[in-house]
Structure formats: C-alpha cells, structure tokens
Subunit: 225 residues, 4 copies
C-alpha cells in the first residue's frame, strides 16, 4: 500500500487508473548520480526532537522525520561511494542576494542565522570528491550550474534524497524530468514538515515525473551496476 | 475555511503556524499579466461531462471541474482586456519532439490525437492581441521564450488560471516565484483531475510560492489599476 | 595557416601563445550530434548569387558563401546518417512572438516574409528521423527544449554547421560549451555575411569554446565511430 | 569613425548598410542597472603594466588596457550611485566545480590561484548595497540567479562594463538581448587581451545585440533620469 493511499479519494484512484497516470515505471538508467538536497541543520535542527520543539529554534526544521531520513541516507552513502557513483549535495546560497521567499510568504524567515545552520549534517558529510552546489531557489537547477555538471558526468538517472518533499525535492524532480533525466525519489530518504504534503507530493511525482522507490530498491539497482 | 482544510492534519496546521509558512500575502504588483495554462479540449473534453465519462475519449481530461473553471475564466477575460492587461495562453507543442512523459509514466498517452485536441476551448479563445506560447514540459517557462516575453512586457505579477493544479500550474508557479514574479493563483480558475492533489497543491503553493486568491479578489484588484 | 591569420595582429598572436588560449584541442567524444543552424532560404537566398545581389530580396542572405557551405553540408549528411548520428536542424520560430531584434537593431527586418523564407534549403532537407527545433533568439538553446533533447540522446559532442558564424553559431557555441558539450565548428560548413566577423568569430570560438575543424577531420572521426 | 573601422572590409560595410544591420539604436530605458563583469586582479594583474609582462604572472590578464578601463569605471561609479542605480559586479565562482574550460582550451589555466586573484580591484570595489554575482561560465546569466535579480529590480536596461569584450561581455550581451533587456556596452569601460577581437566583438554586438556607446553618452543619460 503506497504511503499516500489514505489521503487519496476513491474517485481519484479510479480516475488515475482509467487515465493511465503513474501506471508505468520509468526505470533506472546506466549512469546514476545521488542527489542530497538541503540536508543541513536548518532543516533538521541540531538534534532529533519533535518537530514542534525543533522549530522553536530552527523555523525550517522538519524534526525527527528529518533525522530518520539522515540515518537512511547514511546507510546508502557507502554503497554509492563504493561504486564511484557521483554524490551531489545542495545547500542554500548564503552569499548571493536573498531569495524573494525570505520576505514574501514566511513570517519567521528573517530570524534564522542562515550561515550558521547551512552546514550539511555531520552524519552524512561530504567527502573530498563529492560535489556541493549552492542554490537560492527551490529547484536545485534554478540559477545553478548543476545541469552542466550532470552533462559532464554523463548522468542519466538522478537518485533523490533530502528535503522538503513538497518544496525543493518536488521542484527539482519536475526540472530533472523536464530535462529528460530518469528520476527516482527514495521514499525513506526524503522528508517534509507537513504530513499530507509529504504524501501527496510523493503521489504527484510518482504519477508524472518520477518513480518513488525504496532504499532497498536502490541498493539492489546499485549492486548490479 | 480554505479548500485544503479537510485534508491537512491538525499537526500540520500547528507546524505551519509555528514555522511561519504561508503566514504572509505576497500581494499584487503594478503590471499584471493573465496566464491561462493549457485550457484545451485535451484537458476538459469536448463537452461538460463527468470525468470518468470524459476520460474515455480524452485521457487527460479533468471533466466537469474543467468546464466550471472555463466559465470563470470567461467571466474574467473581458475585465482583463478592458484594462489592456496582457493575456498569455499556453498549449502543448505538437511540432517539436514529444516529451519524455509521453512514454515514461502514463499508459494511455499515445492514444491521444494531440493535434486535434490541442485547441484552446472556444469559450475563452484568444484574441488577436493575445500571446500564445507552445510548451513541451509542465512549466510554462521550460524550453519556451516566455521569460523574455514577460520582461519585454515589464510584467511583475502573474495571475494564473488553467490546469492542472498539480501539474503545469504548480510547476509554473514555482518557476515564476523563482524568477521573482508575484504569483496569484486564482482558485476558481484552476482545476485538476485529482481532488486531493488539487487541494494540497493549492496549500503548498499558498505556503511557499503564491497567493491563492478568488476571482472576486482579482476583479477588485484590476478595477483599481 | 588558419583563416583568421591575416586579421589577427602580431601582438595578439604573441599574447595568445603566452597566455595559453586556444593552445589545446577539446577533441571529440563518443556520442556526436550534427547541428545545422538556420540554413533556410532567408539566409542564403533562393539561388547562389553575389551577396549584394541576394540581399536585395533577402535582407538576411549571406549569398554565395552560404551556398558553398550548403554543398559541404550536403556531402556530410549521408556520412552522418549512415552511422545513425542524430541530425538536428534549427529554423526561426514564426509562430511565437517576434524577437526584440526585429525592431531594435535592423532597419530592414520587417520587410521579410519570414514564413515563406523559413524553409530548410532543399539540397539538405531533413529526413523523417531528423529533429527540427524552432527558435526565436540567436542561440539554439534560448527558449527551446534543445538541452532536454540532447540529454535524452546522451549526446556529448556537437558538430556545428550553419549560419551565421558571428550570430547564431557563435551564440550557440558559447551555450553548448557552457553546458559542457564538446563543440566542433566545421569550418567549411559555417558562413556569415561579413568577412572579418566570420574570421574573428572562428578565432574567438577556437580560442575559448570550440575546436574549429575541417570537413575531412569530421569524416575521419565519424568513420572510426 | 567607430573603433572597428580599420578591420572591417569595404565589402562588409556595403553589405551591412544594404542589409540593415546595426542601422538602428536600441536606446535607453527607464530603469538601468550597471553591470561590471569580472574586473578582478586575475584579468588586469596587480598593477598597470604591458600585457606581455602582466601575463607572466596573471595568465588571464589584459594588461594596461584593463587599467585604463578601471579608471573610466571609477569615474562612472559615483554618478551611478548618486542616482541609486543598482550596481552588479560579477566574479568567478571559486567554490563550485571548475568549469570545463579550465582543462579544455587553455594550456595555462591551472597555474592560476583563482581564490587569490578573484577580488574586484580596489579602485572600483563594491559598496555595501551593491550586488555580487559569482559565475562559472562566460555569460553572467549561465548558472546564476541574475535574471531573477534583474526582474526583482525591475531593470530594463543593462549598462555593461568589464572584460573580456570577446568573452564574458559578448556572451552576456547576447543573453541579455535574448531576454529583452536593452543593452548598452560602454566602449571605454570594456577591454580585451586581443586587439582585433576587441574591435570585431564591439562591431558584432553593435550590429545585432547592443548599442556601443561612450562614457559621456552614459553620463548624459543618467543625468536626465
């Protein structure tokens, strides 16, 4: 039973089955890259604690669900690195002009000390050969040279981890699909601060832009490369 | 009560209130453009009928909800045109290479006669001065010259209609926000084939990228220009 | 002796040698695509004649030099097609909003009947499997889905023909290099309406973004694939 | 007599006059931004000296011509700042993955200590309100959020300074024109390491994408704002 099953109406299930959406798997290509989106202290807090506690000090925090994903990503990293699959991290650009969003939709964004909280969490910290891309918008592609990096790597498949499911993950999955990459969103490795948004964004991505897969699917795929 | 109220958990409401998401309005700028995304026969069918009936012949159809939105858009168009606000329609590009999506995620996409169903519905058909942009991906910006058109129009605000809420509308709203346009999604004028996706995508956009507003809000804003 | 030798100053030659520009070859990759930019009647006229004659009726025409390139491209096409190398043509978009350039820098642009002259010349007309991309700016990438097409083709090398050397070819070579494609500009297959611009743009591209190569270099490369 | 007059053939002059290229001025808009491209020690060296001397230590240096432009930009800055016209500087991104160019076309690129030489020269150093955009390719737009910054500033006109005329200035002018900004390249404020490339790139930009203007033209325009 997919994670979104309890929030999709019966009518919606009938419609998608009849219309054909999400009825096929994209599948994996030959040259994957692992993408870890914004897994910084800003988005999980400095320790696992309930989200309502965590957001007192970290307004963007996703709380414990974030740390659960960190552990899954940590288990995946050695498998990925052993096969020399490129690992690409993203984090907020704290140098360039602040994004519009800062002032437009959130009432608490300005509190945050973005420089201090913009570090990738230590449990999954980048290695010397990994690539770090700074971004200022939701999509990992917007205003970044990522597309040129993926082309030079000859990547055809993006294995997506990180946060938030309804924010940067969703925006990046759309752009990746638009650029004809095969996109796999790893369910246990993505997280969000909202429960329903998490489920529905997985549903939407799986219907249109990506395969939502498990960590064990990914490990099996990588083992065969 | 917002349309998404019944699908958002109580925890999510507490989190968003505490975290500050969606707690501010972007507001309107001085130079709006009306954007009508993909309101073609492919997405509403050739007549108002229940979606399960409509998708038998039009796999992408959103059925009656689509036609309800068409009527709302039709009521808005004369108001917009009277103030010489630019109107930009989008439709699928049927000339260039088919999108990856055709073959990747949907089991019925190839049935469709895209050329025949790719006309803007007659009730809201473009006038001679309107702009028509053909696109091959979800976002109205991907692979199109739309950004250059908006810059030449000096537009600062996008009033968004069309479909689907969870597809091209969502993808386009993210990109428009990323490019620093003020985005207003007109609730009665957007539609989707899935009920929960419609609600949650409005919720997500309102929390992060756009103001979800009513047709009457828009008419009031335009009256003052 | 490169074609630009007579227009580069001695000082410039010393500087580029000492600074290292253009001192290395990019070389070819494993997956080339042939790109034929804007070889339509608008840019060569309807028959080979001296440029001053040709531009009376075709303001954008490059005259006889264009037709010389057409013959070279025609000789290359069967070689390319035999190896199933993708062939991508571009032409002006005559549907979408006219480009700014129309009215900004040229005093004769509006004379032209763009629809009538926007056909690829018959001597090198596209086959059923070729890809045709319509564009509205100089670069073949600006406002087009070309990048997504190249990614889906897994192309790593662009073999560039067409016109004009100082216009769309130069703009496209910069963008292709920026996106990390290996770029080879085929000297006999590109052309321009200005003699010095043709030479210097080849010099500039060869120094920074591309290898300027001969048709025979390309045939030799393709033979080995 | 334009600076390119001595390198353009008589035939070319006849052709451009007859064809209409460069025969019109774009003119200035209402909301300019000053763009200063890559005026760092890497591109002018640490003091004014002949280029052949300067490139011994700074392989990218343009030598004395660069410093002459620095003085002109320095004279322009107070005029621009007095009117609160936005000033946007660019410099190389030294954090993200090195560009392909590093290894592809230049034989000396790896010598350079990019971090040490990537400072804007002191004579025109940024003020607190200025914007600094880091880029990894030739165009100031490629892989950067600059377009979103210009849209949020409501800019319609780019006044372009910096280097090199045949490199980042040319690439950026094409992209700016493609996005429908009015582009003015300030002749005394741009510079290149090659004499003929400098002239021909000014000629090409003036023919197709930009007005090549003098510092005094710009001061006159700004005085009237």
């Amino acid at each position: 039973m997919p994670v979104w099953d309890d929030v999709i109406t019966e009518r919606d299930k009938l419609v998608y089955n009849a219309a054909g959406f999400g009825q096929k798997r994209i599948g994996f290509g030959q040259k994957p890259a692992l993408i870890i989106i914004d897994v910084t202290y800003a988005f999980v807090g400095d320790k696992p604690e309930p989200i309502m506690e965590s957001i007192k000090r970290f307004p963007n925090s996703c709380g414990e669900e974030g740390w659960a994903a960190v552990r899954q990503i940590a288990s995946l990293l050695p498998v990925v690195r052993e096969k020399n699959i490129p690992v690409i991290y993203t984090a907020s650009d704290t140098v360039q002009k602040p994004s519009a969003w800062t002032s437009w939709k959130s009432s608490r964004m300005k509190e945050e000390n973005r420089v201090a909280t913009n570090q990738i969490v230590r449990e999954i910290s980048p290695s010397a050969n990994d690539i770090l891309v700074y971004k200022s918008r939701a999509s990992i592609f917007y205003g970044t040279p990522l597309l040129s990096i993926l082309i030079s790597l000859r990547a055809d498949t993006l294995l997506v981890c990180g946060c938030t499911t309804s924010g940067c993950v969703r925006a990046s999955a759309i752009d990746a699909w638009s650029s004809n990459f095969k996109v796999a969103v790893i369910e246990e490795c993505v997280f969000d601060r909202a429960q329903t948004s998490h489920k529905i964004n997985l549903f939407d991505m799986n219907a249109k832009y990506a395969d939502v897969v498990s960590v064990s699917d990914i490990k099996e795929y990588i083992a065969k490369l």
